[in-house]
């Protein structure tokens, strides 16, 4: 694929990255020195603990809660759990006993600790074996069946609330041309402090992310992939209070992409910033291990702020997401940084501005599979105008060489998409992709022209904002309402009670393995 060109000031580009590294570093240090209940529960999931009690609360929660109550989570719960396991046949029955108040947990020392450590490491290794096997299987299927023949990949959403209704819809969407299927989660799942269990048939405007739902959908899409002759990728959401656990489930059940933004939960869901950054780092390390492409959520900034005035906040967030991702071991090829076509169509030259912003992202992150997201804010009940706007969105995505294209629906502001809405939207995409195939190679906005100037201007604003974030500290910047308009103090938000500073003797077999995977990057310069 021939990438479009845009002349960016190289000094400005390297300054932007250096500032992003400095802004991120205190948060990385924070993430490494804390743990959360969800990180600990993810460790139990990797060790193979599944299932839920009759009230639907997963055994990982019951077990982790009992350990948290008796010894705290600051040492990591693996040692107390696997020490107690000496007196129980398996993790599930230990969790039953813990829920019934019949298990006591202590932090073992000496030979007992060595034995517990060996048991824990062996158990968690089985989870990583499943993740590794899933990744190998994906590679094998892609080699056998093949990737989509074109870029961008066509990304389509299904969301009925019922996994058994989602499956035929997803299969139909793939047959109609979708390369990536995203199953939207039930409203409010991000604020549940547990992952529901089993196949689910009732959700609010979406379907719960559960291990079983993941497995069912992936199996169905494997079947469809063979039929359509391209590997259909499956996407879900590693976000909210259970981000690490959902990442682990995604890795073990071979999801291919996960929405996973460094700050989304803080800003848009009022989840505690420290909880988010700790959970983020763990989940990104898991995604790196699993070969899962992350999708970041910069589109959200533009739905709450003006897309022209706030264009640079997208760039800042992309640079921070890139830094956090690299630090957690994700290579550029797994970095689906987001951006969106959200400028008010009434603004003169709005399309040129869109091209400038899209090309800025493409040029700044040449090797990242950028995710290009459709208009939502300025979509109205005028579905005819909406279809035109989506056509321009598709055109901008193609001209600027975007990698993943989330298909816009002309009924965005009206209904959840009908069968015919999806068909019309895909027809729109196919027309633009076919009519303009290869147009990117002819598209070289001249240096000093409107588009190049606008891109450099936005980059300059991003550098200024990053400078202020470095001076202020990222957590303070978030507390002060720098992103979006939300003020989110570090000691506020949901989930703070599930965060603990790691004790000196903190030990977690999963983070031990993941940290070995994660190459240390040039941190000294960032301090």
């Amino acid at each position: 694929m021939s990438a479009p060109h845009l002349a960016l000031d190289p000094a400005l580009v390297s300054r932007a990255r250096a500032l992003a590294a400095r802004a991120a570093q205190p948060v990385v240090d924070l993430a490494r020195s804390h743990t959360t209940v969800s990180v600990e529960r993810a460790t139990l999931r990797l060790a193979g603990l599944t299932g839920a009690d009759p009230e639907g609360i997963p055994w990982v929660n019951r077990l982790a809660d009992a350990v948290a109550e008796q010894v705290g989570i600051e040492h990591g719960i693996a040692l107390p759990v696997f020490h107690a396991l000496a007196d129980h046949p398996d993790l599930t029955r230990l969790a039953h006993a813990a829920a019934a108040g019949g298990a006591s947990f202590t932090l073992p020392t000496g030979p007992a600790a060595d034995a517990a450590r060996a048991r824990a490491s062996a158990a968690v290794a089985t989870g990583f074996d499943r993740i590794d096997a899933s990744r190998a299987r994906r590679d094998q299927l892609v080699a056998e069946i093949g990737d989509p023949p074109q870029r961008p990949w066509i990304y389509l959403i299904v969301a009925t609330g019922d996994i058994y209704e989602d499956i035929p819809q997803a299969q139909a969407a793939a047959k109609a041309g979708a390369d990536v299927i995203a199953v939207i989660r039930s409203t409010g799942q991000s604020l549940l402090d547990y992952v529901p269990e089993g196949a689910t048939r009732e959700g609010f405007a979406g379907t719960y992310a559960t291990g079983e739902n993941f497995r069912l959908m992936r199996a169905a899409l494997d079947e469809t992939s063979r039929e359509v002759g391209r590997y259909i990728r499956l996407t879900n959401y590693a976000s909210g209070l259970c981000m690490p656990e959902i990442a682990a489930l995604a890795g073990m059940h071979r999801l291919d992409m996960m929405l996973n933004d460094s700050m989304y939960g803080i800003l848009f869901r009022d989840i505690n910033p420290i909880r988010t950054f700790v959970d983020q780092r763990f989940s990104r390390q898991v995604h790196a291990r699993a070969g899962i492409i992350i999708n970041t959520g910069e589109d959200n900034y533009l739905t709450t702020a003006d897309a022209v005035e706030a264009a640079h906040t997208v760039t800042v967030s992309q640079l921070l997401n890139e830094r956090f991702a690299h630090e957690a071991g994700l290579p550029d090829a797994l970095l689906g940084l987001g951006h969106a076509f959200e400028i008010n169509p009434e603004v003169p030259e709005s399309f040129r501005l869109e091209l400038a912003h899209a090309l800025l992202a493409r040029t700044l992150f040449p090797d990242a599979p950028l995710k290009w997201m459709p208009p939502t804010k300025h979509m109205t009940g005028d579905v005819f105008r909406g279809n035109l706007l989506d056509g321009f969105f598709n055109l901008a995505g193609l001209m600027t060489g975007q990698s993943i294209l989330l298909v816009g629906m002309m009924t965005e502001a009206v209904v959840t998409p009908w069968l015919s809405d999806r068909d019309i939207a895909l027809q729109n995409v196919r027309y633009v992709l076919s009519a303009c195939a290869g147009l990117a190679e002819d598209f070289h906005p001249p240096t000093g022209g409107f588009i190049a100037n606008r891109a450099n201007h936005v980059l300059g604003e991003a550098v200024d904002l990053l400078g202020r974030i470095v001076d202020d500290g990222l957590l303070n910047a978030i507390a002060d309402g720098t992103f979006g308009i939300m003020k989110r103090p570090a000691d506020g938000g949901r989930g703070l009670d599930g965060v603990a500073r790691r004790a000196d003797d903190y030990w977690n077999p999963a983070t031990e393995i993941l940290d070995l995977d994660t190459p240390r990057i040039d941190e000294e310069a960032a301090r």
Binding site: K175, S186, G188, L191, T303, T304, M379, I485
Partner: protein, 247 residues
């Protein structure tokens, strides 16, 4: 002037309408006939099937044009007005800033054992619902979302501490009428704790409430299924900013 109208295509009185729909049948002659039969039953005279396209193997999408046989008498059109005006976020913010001169504080919670924060979060979270932003998005509203399973005494105490202008309570679980019991308990607790002039506006919402039952439950307003954040914001401004400023 005639008060009887028909749709307008390109000639007065032609009655032309266009419509599109999907039938769950494979595309063939029978499917096209079915589409025309539907159009006739919907009151389209001499309907033209201008587009038919298969969607997958089992569905067909149609576009149909035709002249409707129905007439509309403008004098017989009844319009139900909502009892408060609808404001945009900007209008809400401007009204609060200019007329109230301080931020308007909203405290929200799910009370009782109800752990379903989906309703309160859709209204309060900036993420909002169906593309519309929640109340956190309004600069002039200060939102305190207490989340799920908040006890009534805790809610009253927090509302007092925060100086709440309005309290929003969401109730999704309706087993044994829990939503009604909880709401009555909540409104009684506020009546007990605060004199009428200092009581915050009490608003409840949930899919199974009857909008007309506000007085019976002791609250100021009930919102039901389909309520958007801007409906709630408009109501709050209507009651707390305009009604008070006028009185």
């Amino acid at each position: 002037m005639s008060r009887i109208v028909r749709p307008y295509g390109d000639t007065t009185g032609d009655g032309m309408v266009q419509m599109s729909f999907t039938l769950p049948v494979p595309h063939d002659k029978r499917a096209e006939g079915a589409a025309l039969q539907l159009a006739a039953k919907m009151g389209l005279d001499g309907a033209m099937l201008v587009h038919a396209k298969p969607i997958g193997e089992d569905y067909t999408f149609f576009v149909v044009y035709g002249a409707t046989t129905h007439l509309v008498n403008l004098d017989e059109v009844k319009v139900v007005e909502r009892d408060y005006p609808h404001f945009s976020p900007k209008e809400v913010n401007d009204a609060v800033r200019e007329k109230l001169g301080r931020k308007l504080t909203v405290v929200g919670a799910c009370i009782g054992t109800d752990a379903h924060t989906v309703g309160i979060d859709a209204i309060l979270n900036i993420k909002g619902v169906a593309g519309e932003k929640g109340l956190e998005y309004y600069r002039e509203l200060r939102v305190v979302n207490l989340g799920a399973q908040v006890s009534v005494p805790d809610l009253v105490n927090r509302a007092v501490d925060e100086g709440a202008d309005a309290v929003l309570v969401s109730q999704v679980v309706t087993q044994k009428d829990a939503h009604l019991h909880n709401t009555r308990e909540m409104s009684a607790a506020f009546r007990e704790a605060l004199p009428p002039g200092r009581r915050p506006l009490l608003v409840v919402g949930g899919p199974r409430f009857d909008e007309g039952a506000a007085a019976e439950l002791g609250v100021d307003r009930i919102f039901t299924r389909g309520t958007m954040p801007s409906d709630v914001a408009s109501y709050l401004v209507h009651r707390l900013v305009f009604s008070r400023a006028d009185s």
